[in-house]
């Protein structure tokens, strides 16, 4: 139903085509392959172009031969509140983006969750707003549900995080310094404990390298 063969023939020169042309091609690619695959073509389109295309897709689904039902499965926009903070969730197939509407600190970060072939990863900087990371994590599980097969988390020191490090990094290192046991230290983190309650309690892999800790969890 989607004319992806034609799209594939078009080369990189399409980035030089007028905006409308790019829009059509970008949207068709998103529709055909899903937004998750789209990032593999970065450099070819800017994320602004992708976003414009997706906006257009929401406003004019008929242009792309999509029914409302099909569209609902591709792009969703949900308005939410957390205390005083108002935000929107944009859901593009394998990607969720949180956009704050009234908190300038939060909107400096592209807060996102992505699924890569069933592996979930987050990139949150909640600017020290207590409970917001947890809220967004819960929303991720509501949206992706059983499609999440495993979870990859990266903790690090970073001057841009409140207190200069992510909470997971702080909790991991406190426990690691005390016990000298990497697995025990991972299990001491709030992140692990939250994920374990959701059924992802098996530590599949981890790596500690300098100021960065990567952990992969899977279902029991």
């Amino acid at each position: 139903m989607y004319s992806f063969r034609i799209i594939e023939i078009l080369g990189t020169s399409e980035t030089l085509a007028p905006a409308g042309g790019i829009l059509n091609i970008v949207v068709q690619k998103v529709v055909t392959f899903g937004i998750g695959k789209f990032s593999a073509w970065k450099g070819k389109y800017t994320s602004k172009q992708v976003e414009d295309a997706l906006e257009d897709l929401q406003v004019h689904p008929e242009k792309y031969g999509l029914s409302e039902y099909e569209l609902a499965g591709l792009v969703k926009k949900i308005s939410k509140k957390f205390g005083e903070i108002e935000y929107e969730i944009l859901v593009y197939n394998d990607r969720i983006i949180w956009k704050s509407l009234n908190n300038s600190e939060l909107s400096q970060w592209e807060n996102s969750a992505k699924l890569w072939g069933g592996e979930l990863e987050f990139d949150f900087n909640t600017a020290g707003v207590k409970g917001l990371g947890q809220k967004w994590t819960d929303e991720t599980f509501e949206i992706f549900g059983d499609r999440i097969k495993s979870i990859k988390v990266e903790w690090k020191t970073d001057p841009r995080y409140p207190n200069g490090e992510s909470l997971g990094y702080k909790q991991f290192h406190e426990a690691f310094d005390e016990t000298g046991d990497e697995i025990l230290a991972i299990k001491e983190t709030l992140f692990y404990q939250t994920m374990e309650k959701k059924g992802y309690g098996v530590i599949q892999d981890y790596s500690l390298l300098g100021k960065s800790v990567v952990v992969k969890l899977k279902k029991k």
Partner: protein
């Protein structure tokens, strides 16, 4: 889980991960196949071992070469102009100057996997340089953890 820990010159654990991840850092290096094989055997030997300074001196230029390759990789977005314009704080804070060119790294997420490889290779290279400077071998400690 079978793991290897690598210590810095102050005997602090700075790298800790499974055996495959430990070998991965060497697997793409352009070094003599014999040397690569020796390192591989030691990594999978399930014993503590050291790499002497003489070998570290061979590895450092190979790590530099690997960084150069990664900087040219087609999946690497070297300057992140558009991302930095939209989210300057997020994407503009890991500048990496190499031979007079400023690249911007973002060491997080699968989308930026080349950035993470560059970061890891750079960290490892600096660790080796620190050992060569103090004329100390690189120490690996084997452990099984549950």
């Amino acid at each position: 889980m079978k793991i290897l820990r690598i210590l810095n010159t102050l005997n602090e654990i700075v790298i800790s991960t499974n055996l495959d991840n430990n070998f991965n850092i060497y697997s793409k290096l352009k070094i003599a196949p014999k040397l690569k094989e020796v390192i591989k055997q030691r990594i999978y030997s399930e014993k503590n071992f050291e790499i002497d300074v003489e070998k570290l001196q061979i590895l450092i230029p190979a790590l530099n070469q690997r960084i150069e390759e990664l900087l040219k990789h087609s999946d690497f977005n070297p300057f992140k102009e558009e991302l930095r314009e939209r989210f300057p704080e997020q994407y503009g804070n890991e500048p990496f100057v190499y031979e007079g060119i400023t690249y911007y790294l973002y060491n997080k997420g699968r989308e930026f996997y080349i950035d993470s490889l560059i970061y890891n290779t750079l960290f490892f290279k600096e660790l080796l340089e620190e050992h060569v400077k103090l004329n100390k071998p690189l120490k690996y400690v084997y452990k099984e953890i549950e």
